[in-house]
Amino acid sequence: MLDLGTQDIESTAMPLLPILTILVLAFVNPATAQSVDAEAQTVKIALAQEPPQLNNMTATDQVSIFVLGHVMEGLTRYDRRGNLAPGVAERWELTEDSATFWLRKDAKWSNGDPVTAHDFVFAWRNVVDPKTASQYAFILYPVKNAEAINQGNKPLTDLGIEAIDDLTLKITLERPTGYFLKLTAFVTTFPVQEKFYRATGSAYAADSKDILYNGAFRISDWVHSASLKMEKNPNYWNREAISLEVIDAEYITADTRARLNLFIDEKIAYTQLDGETYKDALNNQFRIKKFVTGSVYFLEYNYRPERITHNKKLRQAIQAVFDPDEFVNKVLQTPGNLPGASLFPSWIMGVNKPFRQEYPAVVTRPDLAKAKQLLREAKAELGLEDIPPLILLVSDSPTATKQAEYMQGMLKTKLDLDLKIDVQTFKQRLAKMTNGDFDIVGAGWGPDFDDIMTFGDLFASWNLNNRGRYDNPEYDRLVRKAMNSNDPEVRMAAMAGLQTIVHEDAIILPMYEQGVIYLQHPKIKGMRRTVVGSDPDFTYARIVP
């Protein structure tokens, strides 16, 4: 060992000494492990943010859902091909108005206790309990009395869920729900052990030791905002099917450039790109992968009677000049986005094929003459010489502002329509949307579950997310028709009716279906991208040598 104290150091060297020490220390810092390791079956990633809520009953954001999808499991789950498969439930039986699940004996919590039907009863009651104030309570609305309980009109015990015995769970439905089974793979419906939940008090899921896991992995180490490490769960019933030993989120940062740098440095094995980092990834000659996220982005109009956008001809005029192809190519620029054509994204399934193949959306080419004619008619109907400036409300992200500016320029040059762009931060924009303080708002919708209804009922008059207050009895009738049927033919025909209304009434202006581009280490196989639930899904991934 060096003893620096005995040396007589010239005072001139003093300021340099700490710097030298640091440099020496830096060099002895051992090279850390790389992003993937085939022998140990570990993968390193970065999270975009600290998961804000790992209590599955109240979680709503993508990062929390990503983690929960790996460390917990519902009655059903998605298999390596993306098909619905048995999870905690071994088998089930569905009827028009009920569902019975038989739970497997070997499904265990990470403390060794068996996962029982009671754990589901407790969790589901908790989700719809108005005191929990879960934003995702509506996921359980197909269950009998869920909506009434959530609105405080019925006691919790009236919820249509019953543990017949430890391993048999019976659900009574409010109405026939063709997609009910898919809901049982979603985080909101995952089980929670009552005993453990009560023991943690208000701190349930605040730390890695404050959650019980029943999924393929468990959180072994969670340093808030720094790292989150998931290890294979030795108590998981299907552990034989799991290859990965460790999913180590060693970094947490929202900065895409920092994540790209970590990827270049081989510290992480997966990262999403954006418009800015895309070119650098190209320059590094990485293989860029594409994925359509399932979300649809559109401009939503305000239908409140005092608003000028209430006028259908005006909306149709805007529709007639907007060119989604040009928008995707010129404004969005990153590859992977699809031009918007419908409220329903192209991945949504119809009866046998994707819905949009069975019922193609009407696509019209931009027609300036027609748009001008429509605008003249709109002015006549409104009794206005000129249309006053329309307020376009958008979020404060650079992309949203850029899109708004494109619309502003395009409508000005083509139709001499003035747009006033109102840029607001997240919460302010929401408040303005809810209060109807806009003419047009830049909005998007991502699927909550894998069924067409997650988009279909968006503009039903009773839907609270219908912030423009669109109100059309025919639209409502078709939504109800689809909701109350289990027959795919009937449901899809009703949805096709909706698609026509959306276009003819120009309820929204579909802009694009969101695509993302990402980098993935070539040694990772079997990582699944998915539009609903935990994305990306590493559950069945493995590292090849």
Partner: protein
């Protein structure tokens, strides 16, 4: 001295109360609903949340409840992480920011004093011109540019030499702290260099320096024993507030280098209208800054009796 110290602490407490009140009012004046989220919720659910956070009460009552909790050192539960106490957030993440800040200020102080002294010594010669050019750069270029450049530099070094010279991002070891604290300290280093330079130049023409020279002392002795020692005082003055500013102002650096500091919570809370975290972090940072200023005042009182008498 006791009276002086007491007076400074009292005015400090009034300042903190003022910060808390101003933040409370400003926060509630910001349009937008902290309980609103992308998915619309029923009025019943919103009412339940409002009750949980005490937002259903009149604003004056909220203010009184808030102040009395604050006096007891309880900042409540975060709005976005509904199972985490704000106190825990500060406790978990402030030490990270503090460690980063202390290292940054060490870099800044050492560098500032050294460069400042050098520029004064080589006044209007090449080293002075080069260093002062860099100083202007350091003051005018925002830290996010340095952060991005610093990280890019590391990536390239690691790639070119195929070694793990320094980690590109992350937290945990001393090596993780070096680049972020350098970047974080750069602005302050530039500021201190300028301060040091002008202080040194003032002293060069003082009588005691001339005397020392006349006595035939070696230039290096004059430089270290007489010039440096006297010129360092103004640097000490600004160091207090700079320490507070550096430990609290690292948001961008924390983001780029994936560091779990309090700065990220501070900024995100404002974006998310997370009332309890906004209040907790602002008051905490405010109190910290006030504390540092008082500390410097008191130390100065010891060093220089003239300050006390005023």
């Amino acid at each position: 001295m006791l009276k002086y110290t007491f007076g400074r602490i009292l005015s400090g407490l009034v300042t903190i109360w003022f910060i808390a009140t101003a933040t409370f009012l400003a926060m509630h004046a910001v349009p937008g609903d902290p309980l609103m989220n992308e998915k619309a919720t029923t009025p019943e659910i919103r009412a339940n949340l409002a009750r949980k956070y005490g937002l259903d009460k009149p604003i004056a009552e909220q203010y009184i409840i808030y102040l009395s909790n604050m006096v007891q050192g309880d900042f409540g539960i975060s709005f976005t992480q509904q199972n985490r106490k704000v106190n825990d957030i500060i406790q978990d993440h402030f030490p990270v920011s503090a460690a980063l800040g202390i290292l940054a200020i060490t870099f800044a102080a050492l560098g500032g004093i050294l460069w400042g002294a050098l520029t004064a010594l080589y006044r209007n010669q090449l080293p002075d011109i080069i260093i002062m050019f860099l100083v202007i750069l350091g003051i005018s270029v925002p830290s996010f540019v340095f952060a991005a450049l610093g990280q890019l530099l590391l990536v390239n070094i690691n790639q070119w030499f195929d070694i793990s010279f320094l980690p590109v991002a992350g937290w945990g070891t001393f090596a993780h702290m070096i680049m972020p604290s350098l970047v974080l300290g750069l602005g302050t280093m530039a500021l201190l260099t300028r301060l040091m330079r002008s202080a040194m130049l003032e002293i060069v023409n003082e009588d005691f320096i001339r005397t020392a020279r006349a006595k035939g002392l070696s230039p290096s002795r004059i430089f270290f024993q007489h010039q440096l020692r006297n010129a360092i005082l103004p640097v000490v003055t600004v160091l207090g507030p700079q320490i507070a500013a550096i430990t609290t102002g690292g948001f961008v650096v924390e983001l780029v280098f994936a560091i779990p500091g309090l700065g990220r919570y501070f900024v995100q809370a404002v974006q998310q209208l997370d009332y309890t975290v906004i209040m907790g972090t602002t008051v905490f940072y405010g109190a910290f800054l006030v504390f540092m200023v008082i500390l410097v005042d008191i130390i100065y009182g010891f060093i220089d009796p003239r300050v006390r008498l005023k």
